[in-house]
């Protein structure tokens, strides 16, 4: 479904702010798999998601999605295949427009837009049903500006918008990180429901070990722009939070060792 080959990306090359965000990432996602991406800060996990979404063009590497080579496709063109929920609840919705109008936009994701009425009656009917399914009482407030809602409500609506037309790939970028614990719980539960119901191929970035253990069928662990661990199948199901923490500690120790060894070598030979 999704095939990443040798992705490399350096931001601000040749300056003091140079960041080697991706240093050769290879990854293949099977149809219908729900992959969780874990990583330390600055490990390149969000960059990976943005690279797939098309927020920037890669220095090197190829991206194949649903049989298309999308490496040179601009973001809005890839959106015909991709549904996306951002970390910031403000990013996924247009605050000045009503809930219904936001969904009218989502209902034409990747399709040509013409001069037909945006709030068509059949859309409104379907919308009321689906929004009622959120059990947030928003179905009676479809004409309210989305900016008046809480972060959790907006994130739940963004998820519904991203999956309104079944996407070939769903990208979730730490989409519960900015929410209070209760809302975060609601949104992650809802995400899991939608992903299972529609069998969506999903790439979810998260900081939360608990989420990584509880959801999905595969975990990718990233560090310094590389994939360092790939847990799947029975191994993923057996995995507990402590195991993940151990793996992170192991990475950190190995790194300290490397630095310590480098310092020793410097003292001896330089």
């Amino acid at each position: 479904m999704l095939e990443l080959q040798g992705l490399r990306q350096t931001f601000n090359p040749g300056t003091v702010n140079e960041v080697r965000a991706l240093q050769g990432v290879d990854l293949t996602l099977d149809e219908g798999s729900f992959v969780v991406v874990l990583g330390t800060n600055g490990s390149g996990k969000s960059t990976l998601l943005n690279a797939v979404a098309g927020s920037f063009f890669l220095d090197e590497g190829r991206i194949r999605l649903d049989g298309h080579d999308v490496t040179r496709w601009p973001e809005h063109r890839r959106a015909s295949l991709i549904g996306r929920v951002f970390q910031n609840p403000f990013s996924g919705t247009a605050p000045g427009m009503s809930i219904a109008e936001n969904f009218a936009l989502a209902a034409r994701r990747g399709r040509p837009r013409g001069l037909s009425w945006a709030l068509a009656p059949d859309l409104m009917g379907a919308l009321r049903d689906r929004v009622a399914g959120l059990r947030m009482g928003l179905e009676d407030r479809l004409d309210n500006a989305i900016g008046s809602l809480s972060g959790g409500q907006r994130q739940a609506l963004t998820l519904l918008m991203a999956t309104w037309l079944r996407p070939r790939l769903l990208l979730l970028d730490e989409h519960t990180a900015a929410l209070d614990p209760k809302s975060a719980d609601q949104v992650i539960t809802l995400s899991d429901e939608v992903i299972r119901r529609d069998g969506l191929t999903t790439l979810m970035v998260t900081h939360s070990m608990a989420q990584a253990v509880a959801y999905g069928d595969r975990i990718i662990m990233m560090h310094r722009g590389r994939v360092v661990h790939d847990f799947r199948g029975a191994e993923k199901r057996r995995l507990r939070q402590e195991d993940l923490i151990d793996r992170f500690d192991e990475i950190r120790r190995r790194e300290q060792l490397d630095e310590g060894a480098a310092a020793m070598l410097r003292e001896l030979y330089v």
Binding site: A53, P74, E75, H76, R77, A79, S80, I82, R84, F86, F90, S91, G92, T93, A94, P95, G96, M97, E101, N102, A104, L105, A106, R108, R109, G110, R111, R113, G114, L115, S116, W117, A118, L119, M161, A162
Partner: protein, 308 residues
């Protein structure tokens, strides 16, 4: 009464300008100075065609179309060449000054002999009500002036309704979202650049339409007539928002029309009271400045967070 009637007619004609500025400034958050050039462009194109004997409808439409092209050009410079929106507008406005002079062939084209929407309106009024003055609320009014006012009202209402309907379609909704949250619009598969170009074309098309009608109403097109027009448009939009007190689409468009008319009435009264016409633009600029700053200032005084 003639003064009042004139201010009303002018206000309605310039409400098209106000709606154009509403599109660029409020929907796309771009203070688009192309406005100053495109209103003159609309006037110049229409005037030259009218002098050549083209029908008023066709000449006016051609003026509006020329403005739309100018707006699209500013949009292309802004989006495709990544130039600051304000600077893109300044570039196009500056270039248009020369273009307008070339279109007109000189700095002023009088329309005294030409067949315009104003002369047609007067003929229509005389055909309907005869040549003599009518009495409206006890004031004598010429049927011609009344008919021209009716035509201006028709143009403003028609443009307002069409704009409202357009912004409720799929394309129009996507355009409004582009100004609200471009990141989201990209993620939902719409080309932000394309919608920005389209929006500036629409805005400047309306502005040039206003210019084409203005030239016919005042009886000439002039290379200098566009100076400061964007500030007048902004003043109208701001007055309109104060009147309707709402940012909802329909009310905002109605507010732009009402604001433009009220603004013209205020100007007419001020001039009648002996305001030096040379001070008009200074006062308008001060008014827009205070209208933009005052809400934030008041919010800070109340100890609340400043309005965005």
């Amino acid at each position: 009464m003639t003064l009042l009637l004139g201010a009303l007619t002018l206000g309605l004609i310039l409400s098209l300008l106000a709606m154009g500025v509403y599109v660029s400034f409020r929907i796309f958050s771009i203070p688009d100075i192309t406005t100053d050039g495109s209103i003159t462009l609309g006037a110049a194109v229409a005037a030259v065609l009218l002098v050549g004997g083209t029908s008023p409808v066709l000449a006016t439409a051609a003026g509006a179309l020329a403005g739309a092209v100018a707006g699209a050009l500013a949009g292309v410079i802004h989006t495709r060449f990544k130039i600051n929106a304000l600077l893109a507008g300044i570039l196009v406005m500056t270039a248009l000054y020369s273009v307008n002079l070339h279109v007109m062939g000189r700095s002023n084209v009088p329309l005294l002999q030409a067949n315009t929407f104003a002369t047609q309106g007067e003929r229509l009024g005389q055909a309907l009500f005869g040549a003599g003055p009518l009495h409206v609320l006890g004031w004598p009014v010429t049927p011609g002036d009344l008919a021209v006012l009716a035509l201006a009202l028709l143009a403003a209402v028609a443009a307002g309704v069409m704009l409202y309907l357009f912004f409720r379609t799929d394309v129009g909704t996507a355009m409004r979202a582009t100004g609200d949250n471009p990141q989201m619009v990209r993620a939902l598969g719409a080309d932000v650049d394309r919608y920005t170009i389209l929006g500036l074309a629409l805005s400047n098309g309306l502005v040039a339409l206003s210019g084409a009608l203005l030239a016919q109403y005042q009886g000439f097109a002039d290379a200098q007539m566009g100076i400061g027009m964007i500030v007048w448009g902004l003043a109208s939009v701001i007055i309109g928002e104060a009147l309707t007190g709402s940012r909802s689409l329909g009310l905002a468009l109605a507010g732009a029309v009402l604001g433009s008319v009220l603004f013209r009435l205020l100007v007419a009264v001020a001039l009648r009271w002996g305001l030096n016409p040379n001070d008009l633009k200074l006062i308008t600029a001060l008014f827009v400045f205070s209208a933009l700053v005052l809400p934030r200032f008041l919010a800070r005084r109340r100890g609340g967070a400043p309005a965005a």
